[in-house]
Amino acid sequence: MWLYLLKRLALAIAIIAIAVTLLFLMIRAVPGDPAAILLGPRATPEMKAQLHHQMGLDKPLVVQITTFFGGLLRGDLGFDVFGQKPVADIVFEQLPYTIELVLFSIFWAVVVAVPLGCYSAMRRNSLVDQVVGVVAVATLAIPSFVMAVYALLFFAVTLRWLPAIGAGDGFWDGLVHLILPGFAIGIGWVGYISRLVRASMLEVLGENHIRMARAFGISEWRIVARYAMPLAILPTVTILGVGIAWLLSSAVFIEVVFARPGIGALIVNAVTARNYPVVMGAVLVTTILIVAATTLSDLINAFLDPRTREKL
């Protein structure tokens, strides 16, 4: 286990290092001078040169990368010349909004999906199970932004039940503002998680100790809730780690549709403005988040299932 832990962490660090280098090289490989883009067409050569110096673009590439890595270790993601602020400040200002949205979405999805999956497993091939199965595939397929636009049209524009834009002020207002975005992100997960829970539940229900419990005359719901559920939920937990990339991707669209602050909105704005330092910083932070989440879920997996350790 310790050897696996060590190897897995080393791999995670290697991936982050390679990812950073790739991103850095890609930004530098683009035709066109970032400084010129930032300054606009009326910039004088002196202004460009000064900005070059300020952004460190006049140094050799190796020095630039090394400086960048050095900064990264200190939590410095560079400087946003546009907004005259450190990139890290901007990114970490927006990150909580996205995390809040993602956590809320996944929370309600799990709360709905787990009982649904248990029920599907207990009444296998019943009408409910089959309907849930089809709906699960369908909601997974429909892009979250279409879902978001339709939800916005129906609940906010037509019915005017819920607020359409922003993140709200204070706890309750904030919660109300989370409902529609959270629905659009979470709905696909309801289908996905309920199918996962159903599959692992079916597996667990076939095992001997469950049959034993049944033989003792313990009620089916009690067996599911008390004995099978804890075992059946474990695979779900590890899937969530891998699913973070998907969650963040949906969050980008949802933040734009509902005009919420957050990392997605930040990136879309930065991309539109061609503000490379901010784009780079935001991509980096999300990449690190994803690598951390997948590493964590791999480690949990390895802890639960020794066979996976051999694979690395």
Binding site: L11, A14, I15, I16, I18, A19, L22, L23, M26, I27, V30, V134, V137, A138, L140, A141, I142, P143, F145, V146, V149, Y150, L152, L153, V157, T158, V242, A245, W246, L248, S249, V252, F253, V256, V257, I263, G264, I267, V268, A270, V271, T272, R274, Y276, V279, M280, A282, V283, T286, T287, L289, I290, V291, T294
Partner: protein
Amino acid sequence: MASVETTRPETNVAIGPGLQQFRKNRLGMLGAALVTLITAIAIFAPLMIMHDPVRIMVGPRLADPSLHYLLGTDQLGRDTFSRIIMGSRIPLLVAFVSLGSSLAVGLVLGLIAGFGPRWLDNLLVLFFDTIRSFPGIIFALAMVALLGPSLASVILVIAITSMPIYARVVRTQTEALRSSEYVAAERSMGAGTTRILAVHVLPNVIGPLLILVSMDVPAVIAVEAGLSFLGMGVRPPTPDWGAILNDGFNYIDKAPWLVIAGGIPIVLATLGFTFLGEALREIFDPKLRKDL
């Protein structure tokens, strides 16, 4: 004594019984019907449109749906119905070109990783894992920002980000085949690596891979539409579902039919390809998983 008579577990390759099974899969049939319909529309689009999809002011701005403008008009007075019909071409083109090239590259790299020396395998897998850890649409946005928004950028980004999964699947399968007895038998006859890969490994790897690719089509359609929705996809005035949805979104309170019309083809296309892909997977390769 263990019986060798039993069939070995392997991918179901028989097409005949598979087709019969497919006919019984109602969702799969629905998916196939939707896919056929959308493909037909994309092919015959120029014959079906009522107005020039890119000409502005063919009618009044934001007109309600009518017999003349079946789905109304947008903020520039363009006919939405014609734009939706012509807009079917971009997603299919993007899916075809990006997944095709990513399939080819993934196949080659996967074969190299699976059959090549150990160090090269490790290096390639590290490379695949790095690309896979880039945050999906966020990475795509960054790339498109760098390359400039265009159809080519969208295709390139999708090809790059979907390749590692194919390569990993091919690698895993190749590695399993590499130690199989029949590959050893071929080598003992003097067959070279190229011959073994082309004649004995490739045909056994390509089937599951094609199913995997078919299951990615809806995701690609969603990403293409999504990038266009964010204004990072095809350039205006090219008709595209995501772009139409975006146009409509800006006038959601005044002209709701625009977002309804823009979103429904995206929903139908992703559903159709998903149902079809799921059915294919269920029939031909039930054990296939993306999370390899």
